[in-house]
């Protein structure tokens, strides 16, 4: 059982944004989508949840054509958490999370006890019980993101799409958000900005550049200095995380600053 993108190409405004994308997300795995700004990470994700329509290719969920499903049925299987966004209306945390029940309800259905129990549990799982009745807009960025994760949980899907969910968050909340999501055992496809963080949490990563997948595989195989230079055009050192052994990026200054670039690169000492 898996979520499969097969030969996916998406045009926006007549321009090809991503082409021939193949990604497989096996059940229970955390797959990261990496790549520089504008490389097409979001576009791929948005093709899965129907903001963009692929010109070619397929999205299969357990072998069934996801894009041919009814909107509601697709949303019952796949939930999305994207970058923290502002909401121009006054919703409480409770109301926000209840919106996650949308794909499960018919036109005139009221919230029933089951919905309330699911929503309360979702709020509890992200640790937001004490802000249940607060207005969503009064929360901090990290708190908002937790509430949006609760909404995704209440949606009852077994797949989660994350579109740079840690943008604009400080390091504590970045870790918190990813730790939270990784702990659910859901199948996750996440566009991530921070390669070191991605290496910590992902089982597999796909590296994107200019709308095509350059390479994919376990983080250790993909996140290398050459690959980062190739995809991002940036000069970095890649070292091993001292605890997990996952690749970790260390930025370097360019030669123009008068720093020596040539010669053997010695990994820095980390205690």
């Amino acid at each position: 059982m898996s979520l499969d993108l097969i030969g996916l190409s998406v045009d926006i405004g007549g321009r090809r944004i991503v082409s021939n994308i193949d990604i497989t997300v096996p059940d229970g795995r955390f797959v990261g989508l990496l790549g520089p700004n504008g490389s097409g990470k979001s576009t791929i994700l948005k093709a899965i949840y129907r903001v963009h329509h692929p010109v070619t290719g397929q999205v299969l969920l357990d072998g069934a054509d996801l894009l041919a499903m009814r909107h509601k049925d697709a949303a019952r299987r796949i939930a999305v958490v994207s970058q923290e966004s502002t909401v121009e209306f006054d919703f409480t945390v409770l109301e926000m999370v209840m919106i996650g029940r949308t794909p499960h309800k018919g036109p005139f259905d009221r919230d029933d006890d089951k919905d309330r129990a699911i929503v309360a549990e979702a709020i509890e799982r992200v640790g937001c019980e004490d802000m249940t009745h607060r207005s969503f807009n009064t929360l901090s960025g990290g708190e908002k993101q937790r509430v949006l994760i609760a909404r995704a949980i209440a949606q009852g899907a077994d797949h989660l799409i994350l579109d740079e969910p840690t943008n604009h968050l400080d390091i504590r909340y970045q870790l918190e958000v990813l730790e939270l999501v990784a702990g659910f055992g859901m199948t996750v496809l996440a566009a991530l900005h921070d390669l070191s963080l991605a290496a910590l949490f992902c089982d597999t990563v796909c590296l994107l550049a200019d709308g095509v997948i350059v390479t994919s595989g376990p983080p250790k195989a993909v996140i290398t200095a050459e690959m980062v230079r190739h995809a991002y055009g940036a000069d970095v050192l890649v070292v091993e995380h001292p605890e997990t052994g996952t690749p970790h990026l260390i930025p370097r200054r360019s030669a123009r600053e008068g720093l020596p670039l040539s010669g053997p690169v010695r990994p820095p000492q980390i205690q």
């Binding site: 949840y49 049925d73 019952r76 994207s82 006054d90 996650g100 309360a120 009745h133």
Partner: protein, 378 residues
């Protein structure tokens, strides 16, 4: 003020036991978030607004050059409903003149409030309104064109409303297309384009009327500032039917509307068919604004002020905002019309003057409270 009383929260007002218990007795954590500071129960707000509407309608029918007691007003109404109308002066005043006017004001108030609420969701901005976006003035162009040039004559009594709805649709499409920048709608652009087109449409309306009849100042005033002065029973069915149909659809879409308020992309991820919903909301907004303008001219700010007050009371869950808005918007307009015909009696003030007096300061306060929506850096 009566509305003032409505806004006082009633914390201990015996909630209607929404069975907040968790199904699992071993999980007490689930029960606690539901008790504290939940929103006011919907039925309390609905009952309060219904009472408010009945009171304002009774006052609206009773007060005037000849004032009638609430009791006399209801006596006439009961007589008519029972099928035994009496041939009295009070009967003529209530049934022929004031009741159709008050009912029309109520329906138009409800329609404009609904249009405002929906257009706010459409553009994801709590400061939008069919008047500010030029939709109402577009409708008035359509209505006056029909009246002066006899377009759609085959539609009979529906012709003016039809032209008006068509004008609203065209105006709305124009505002959205012009202010669209690549993939998103920028609120600042939207409002600016709306204001510009609104001024243009008002001039077109005036131009059409003066071409039709150079002595038509009165008629221009009607279309630009609105009035219920010509109200009669025959005008009621079209807006009333449109309101019922639109509300039926919107109430069925309460959850998708809430999802759409998060933005089009989150809504898509929540299983909402965004394209279909957006198109339907377009039509509903134009329908509501169009039928309202066809019978009462362009009445500004109602679609902005009333949804805002309602959102303050019940939050932004549209399954609550919409029904409460209908009752509150109706009461607001009935009260506004009562003021319009009494404060300078025996003269009559265009109702748009009254609603602008209330609406403009409200808008300014709102903009100052949330400057970032209008392009200021956060």
């Amino acid at each position: 003020m009566r509305q003032g009383d409505q806004q006082v929260p009633v914390p201990s007002a015996s909630p209607p036991a929404p069975s907040p218990h968790s199904p699992d007795p071993g999980a007490p954590i689930q029960a606690s978030p539901w008790r504290r500071r939940d929103r006011l129960p919907l039925w309390i707000v609905l009952v309060a607004c219904a009472v408010l509407l009945l009171v304002t309608m009774t006052l609206g029918v009773g007060i005037g050059s000849v004032s009638l007691s609430p009791r006399a007003v209801w006596q006439v109404i009961v007589d008519h409903l029972a099928g035994h109308p009496k041939n009295t002066v009070a009967d003529a005043i209530v049934w022929q003149i004031r009741l159709p006017r008050v009912l029309l004001a109520a329906v138009v108030g409800a329609a404009l409030t609904t249009a405002g609420t929906v257009v706010q969701v459409l553009v994801r901005n709590a400061l939008a309104d069919p008047f500010l976006l030029g939709i109402s003035s577009g409708a008035s162009v359509g209505a006056t064109a029909v009246l002066l040039f006899g377009a759609f004559a085959s539609l009979g009594i529906w012709a003016v409303s039809f032209g008006s709805v068509l004008g609203a649709l065209a105006a709305m499409a124009a505002v959205f297309l012009i202010s669209r920048t690549r993939h998103q709608l920028a609120p600042t652009q939207l409002i600016l384009v709306g204001v510009v087109l609104s001024a243009l449409f008002e001039s077109v309306t005036s131009f059409l009327i003066f071409r039709g009849n150079p002595q038509a100042t009165q008629s221009v005033l009607f279309w630009l500032l609105g009035s219920f002065g010509n109200a009669n029973w025959a005008q009621l069915p079209i807006p009333a039917i449109a309101l019922v149909v639109a509300m039926g659809y919107l109430l069925s879409q309460g959850r998708p509307l809430n999802a759409f308020a998060m933005g089009a992309e989150p809504a898509a991820s929540l299983g909402v068919d965004v394209h279909r919903l957006r198109r339907n909301l377009f039509v509903v907004t134009s329908l509501m604004a169009g039928v309202a303008v066809a019978v009462s001219g362009v009445i500004g700010f109602v679609g902005l002020v009333v949804p805002h007050i309602v959102r303050l009371i019940v939050g932004s869950n549209h399954r609550r905002v919409l029904p409460v808005g209908v009752l509150f918007g109706a009461a607001f307009m009935v009260l506004g019309d009562l003021l319009a015909r009494t404060i300078v009696a025996p003269q009559e003030m265009p109702i748009g003057v009254i609603t602008a007096f209330i609406g403009a300061p409200t808008l300014i306060v709102l903009i100052r409270r949330r400057p970032y929506l209008y392009g200021a850096t956060q």
